[in-house]
């Protein structure tokens, strides 16, 4: 692999000002020579120094395809550790793809998913957990998401896991000594000592697992449904949210989530908002499809913002919606109107985790909503520095470790012999080491690189 030269478009395939093509490998510079004529410095890319760039024309023989800027990185001082050329093209997706095809014709091969990062990894430019964090940075939407990904790279999570794992190792060490030196008058390891260490580990892992949900919401955003009877102020709320920071991503047609309308940022969290048809019984078959879909959407959402009009009396529809919100991450949004307050929120308040009063007309209450959402996900006081589980792989390792330690504790209390308890602790410890990358396994490597996309 290291001798091949690979190329790919490294920017998203979307209309934008520029697109960057990255070429990496031994022949990166000679390939670049064949497609790039420098205007600014008159020398071919292969004679340029590392960390320099040139403005010029991208050519196919005599035909000029585009103009752009070419940057040279010389091995090992590049992302992959190989010779790297990056060409910023100006001509939009179609032209960029044409240029990429030309680069393939001139000797580069298409880069596989995550290939540049894999090369960086093989050339000692980054560790496995760093590679994993790169993936998380790429896919992080909100501001806090990026911070978390960076924190992982710097080892906040690593330190927390290490504390647990060191405690277990020490315990395993004393158990081993006590067993291996029966004649050496080594103090017996007492049951309470083992359970103390196990309990501490289980508690710490429990905290980490609980904060995973917060971390996931911070990183990936929350699928949010705004629900309520017609005319309670759903659209106004939607506009209010959208207005406070205009959408980051607008949905493209043809995705499966045809209900999603808009993503907005509320503080550090991205909410992917869906407006739904009201949930009510209907005879109309077309409408019932919509209602059905709305129910499903409601049931799968990360967050429900249930909007009520405080100016009217509580209805059966309000009650049904409230019941559906029970035990879910739900916030009652009480929309204040100028009318007299007739809504008896007390009746349904126990269905919701929290409630806020907003005035969609006047545009206030957004801060309260933001605070309520952050509180719901434990994000107020949530700091990337504290170390969180960043992805499904890490979560499943932590979960397995916690389960093993819990089993060990139970076995211990049930009176199992220490050699059996030790097996369970060993098992949990292995999971922790896999989490931090201190134990190599094929699964970890595959998992990390399978999440990469082409061009990175």
């Amino acid at each position: 692999m290291s001798t091949d030269t690979a190329a790919a478009i490294s920017t998203p395939r979307a209309q934008g000002g520029i697109s960057v093509i990255r070429i990496s490998g031994e022949d990166a510079l000679s390939v670049a020579d064949k497609v790039f004529q420098s205007v600014s410095c008159k020398i071919p890319p292969s004679e340029m120094e590392g960390y320099t760039c040139a403005y010029g024309k991208i050519v196919n023989g005599d035909e000029i395809m585009d103009d752009g800027v070419l940057t040279v990185f010389r091995a090992p001082k590049s992302y992959t550790g190989e010779d790297v050329v990056e060409i910023s093209c100006h001509g939009g997706i179609f032209v960029t793809e044409q240029i990429l095809r030309l680069i393939f014709d001139r000797g580069a091969k298409p880069a596989g998913a995550g290939e540049f990062t894999k090369r960086a990894f093989l050339n000692g430019k980054m560790s496995l957990t760093q590679a994993e964090a790169v993936m998380d940075i790429i896919s992080a939407d909100g501001g806090a998401g990026l911070k978390c990904a960076e924190a992982l790279r710097d080892g906040a999570l690593f330190r927390r896991i290490k504390t647990v794992s060191d405690g277990m190792l020490k315990l395993l060490g004393s158990l081993a000594a006590w067993v291996d030196y029966p004649d050496d008058d080594i103090p017996a390891v007492e049951e309470y000592e083992i359970s103390a260490v196990l309990e501490a580990g289980i508690a710490e892992l429990g905290e980490l697992l609980e904060s995973y949900e917060s971390g996931r919401i911070v990183r990936e955003g929350a699928d949010t449904v705004i629900a309520g009877r017609p005319n309670v102020g759903k659209s106004t709320l939607m506009n209010l949210l959208a207005g406070c920071e205009r959408s980051i991503v607008s949905d493209t047609a043809g995705t499966t989530r045809d209900i999603v309308e808009e993503s907005v940022r509320l503080g550090d969290i991205v909410l992917r908002l869906s407006d739904t048809a009201g949930i009510h019984d209907t005879e109309d078959s077309v409408e019932s499809i919509g209602v059905d879909r709305a129910r499903k959407k409601l049931d799968s959402a990360d967050l429900i913002l249930a909007v009520f009009d405080v100016g009217s009396l509580i209805t059966d529809e309000d009650r049904e919606l409230s019941e559906r919100c029970r035990n879910r991450n739900s916030i009652a949004v009480l929309n204040k109107s100028d009318l007299e307050q007739r809504f008896d929120f007390e009746e349904i308040s126990d269905c919701f985790k929290n409630s806020v009063t907003v005035s969609a007309e006047k545009g206030d209450g957004i801060d309260a909503l933001k605070a309520a959402v952050e509180k719901l996900y434990g994000i107020s006081g949530f700091s990337a520095d504290m170390g969180i589980l960043a992805n499904e792989r890490q979560r499943s390792c932590a979960l397995k470790a916690k389960q093993c330690f819990t089993d060990a504790l139970e076995a211990l209390k049930a009176g199992a012999t220490f050699d059996a308890v030790t097996v369970l602790i060993d098992d949990g410890e292995n999971s922790l080491l896999e989490l931090t990358g201190e134990k190599a396994s094929e699964a970890v490597v595959d998992e990390v690189f399978s999440r990469f996309c082409v061009g990175k």
Binding site: L122, A176, P182, D183, D184, V423
Partner: protein, 623 residues
């Protein structure tokens, strides 16, 4: 000038615990074998502890026996006290340990070797290994006798350039006042073998009449004695003597501290590296200065002698200091030393130069075993001797060598540790060295290794048939127990309560009750009308395999996990400098050891998990 004497398939150099296992295995597999020793009176000698077994070491002896080795049977024939250590800490760590009659053990092993078909035993010092084109061709003795051989197994123990230290006195010597082996080291160096210097030590032997036994704690053997060998009957085994326990005290420590400068270890006169896990008393006192006392065991050397061994008190301090500190110990106030404690330095190889078959990587037909490979202990030595002997014989027959995996045995773990991780001080086996402790129990060594022993040819037809009957009985009884339901009778509930576990109100599978730690297979016998009469060994396995089933399955899953990495084969030979993502240290280590697969690579110290990930990705990219 050398003169031709004879030709052999296998020459074993040394007749200690490694040498005898190697020679017996090779001869039993049909190889024409010769075993050389500097003194016929020291075959299978125990120059240190007169005991066999102990934690993890007991496992090794059971495994040696399961493969068809001799040590277990000899220990059963010569023991004078037997104890199962770690009872109550779980079956994985139960370890059998016996006190042996040292002279009887020597005589017994010597006779076994003398009677062995295909095996010649000779007294001579081997001074040279002859090799052509990287292949062993012969050996030469100190008298100039030349033997043509196809293979040679070096099992020189502590004899190789042996140097004894007592205080400021040093003299060339083998163990127990034998002659050292002087010439062989240089011959090995000429063959390109790295020679290192290790050190070990032994305590003094004292006269029975100088010990006040009344002041000591007495330690009896087990009433219910389990033999080492799966072939030894439990009938008629008995303890003949007790051992005793004593303790050092503040005064002992003071004497040692005041004289520590007279120890050759601390004055720097000993360059060899001593065993971390079997330290001398002065080492223990310096390293664990917070401990107010250390335990020592006072053990008889045999039935026909008045000598007693002081386990835990090995020392290289001068004679007068030895007498002084021993006499501070309660019960030893008027102790008379018969043999002094000493430290001994000796030459050994770097086991990373060996393959898993224990053959040297760079010389075909040359094998290493025992302390020469950097280990400490009779059992570790015997285990390697057995493997080297088997492989030397197979080499002569043109068969591929056998290797044992870590998940199969402590023997496999021992050899893998030596060859892959290497050792910086004399390597002692411990249960914590195995990641598969619950699988590698001493009670199931036969299940793990006897089929292989049979395949190799060291297990007789008769024994193999009996083994099969036992395995079948275990299997049938387990499936019966798993399908049998016990009803909640008053008697059963009374037993459950009495054992401190919950009553039952409906019928419960017998196996579910056995899984409760408080209840054993045996406990349920009165409620199990159809229980067949089974030998103890079968009952034991049924109980253990049911009780620990869940844990055993976990370990098997881990074995599978590792097997995946073991199946990823690395090219050989290969220059790891080509993979730039590897750390420099790891490139060097990989280049030296040339692991066969990713699993082995992952166990090399200095090869980090990140390096292993690099190797995994590199392999998949180069398919």
């Amino acid at each position: 000038m050398s003169h031709y004497i004879d030709s052999y398939d296998v020459a074993v150099i040394g007749a200690g615990h490694a040498g005898v296992e190697a020679a017996l295995a090779a001869a039993r597999l049909g190889a024409k074998t010769v075993m050389f020793t500097i003194s016929l009176d020291n075959i299978a000698n125990m120059p240190c502890n007169p005991s066999i077994g102990g934690t993890a070491k007991g496992h090794l002896v059971r495994e040696i026996d399961a493969l068809g080795g001799e040590m277990g049977k000899a220990a059963d024939a010569c023991f004078i006290q037997s104890r199962m250590l770690n009872r109550g800490k779980g079956p994985a760590v139960h370890s059998l340990r016996v006190q042996a009659d040292r002279v009887k053990y020597h005589n017994h092993m010597k006779k076994i070797c003398e009677m062995q078909e295909n095996l010649d035993v000779k007294q001579a010092e081997v001074t040279e290994i002859l090799a052509e084109n990287g292949t062993v061709t012969g050996i030469v003795t100190h008298l100039g006798g030349e033997y043509k051989v196809k293979t040679a197994i070096i099992a020189t123990g502590t004899y190789l350039k042996g140097l004894i230290h007592v205080g400021d006195v040093s003299y060339e010597s083998g163990p127990d006042s034998t002659l050292p082996a002087r010439g062989l080291s240089d011959s090995l160096k000429k063959l390109g073998i790295e020679i290192r210097r290790f050190k070990t030590g032994t305590p003094s032997r004292v006269h029975r009449r100088s010990i006040d036994f009344d002041k000591l704690e007495i330690q009896h053997g087990d009433s219910d004695i389990q033999p080492f060998s799966f072939e030894t009957s439990r009938e008629g085994l008995e303890n003949i003597v007790p051992c005793y326990v004593a303790y050092t005290n503040v005064e002992t420590h003071r004497v040692i501290h005041e004289n520590i400068h007279r120890s050759p270890m601390y004055s720097g006169r000993i360059e060899g590296i001593g065993p971390r896990y079997c330290p001398s008393i002065e080492d223990k006192i310096v390293r664990f200065s917070e401990r107010p006392r250390h335990q020592l065991f006072i053990e008889p050397m045999g039935l026909d002698t008045e000598e007693f061994y002081l386990q835990g008190m090995s020392s290289s301090l001068p004679e007068d200091v030895q007498i002084a500190f021993l006499r501070t110990i309660k019960g030893l106030e008027r102790v008379e030393i018969m043999r002094n404690a000493y430290a001994i330095e000796y030459d050994c190889c770097n086991p990373q130069d060996l393959k898993h078959t224990l053959e040297f990587k760079n010389i075909r037909g040359l094998y290493g075993a025992g302390q020469f490979n950097g280990t400490s202990g009779y059992e570790e030595a015997a285990a390697q001797g057995l493997v080297a002997g088997i492989n030397a014989a197979r080499y002569c027959k043109g068969q591929e060598g056998i290797t044992l995996s870590r998940s199969s045995s402590y023997i496999g773990t021992l050899i893998d540790d030596l060859v892959i991780k290497g050792c910086l001080d004399p390597y002692r086996m411990m249960t914590s060295r195995s990641e598969y402790r619950l699988l590698l129990r001493q009670d199931n060594a036969d299940e793990r290794l006897t089929p292989l022993g049979y395949e190799i040819g060291l297990i007789s037809e008769k024994r193999y048939k009996l083994f099969h009957v036992k395995q079948l009985q275990i299997k049938q009884e387990i499936s019966r127990v798993k399908s049998k339901t016990l009803s909640p009778t008053a008697e059963l509930n009374e037993l459950l309560l009495q054992k401190g576990t919950a009553e039952i109100s409906t019928g419960v599978k017998m196996s579910d009750l056995i899984r409760r730690p408080q209840i054993s297979y045996e406990d349920l016998a009165p409620f199990d009308g159809e229980r067949p009469e089974l030998p103890f060994e079968v009952q034991e396995q049924v109980g253990l395999q049911i009780e620990y089933e869940g844990y055993i399955e976990r370990q098997l899953a881990e074995v599978e996990h590792v097997r995946k990495l073991e199946n990823k084969r690395l090219p050989q030979p290969f220059d790891y400098k080509e993979i730039k993502g590897l750390s420099l240290e790891s490139q060097e280590k990989l280049n030296r050891i040339q692991p066969e697969n990713i699993g082995q690579a992952s166990r090399i110290s200095g090869v980090s998990p990140a390096d292993v990930s690099v190797l995994i990705i590199w392999l998949s990219a180069n398919k």
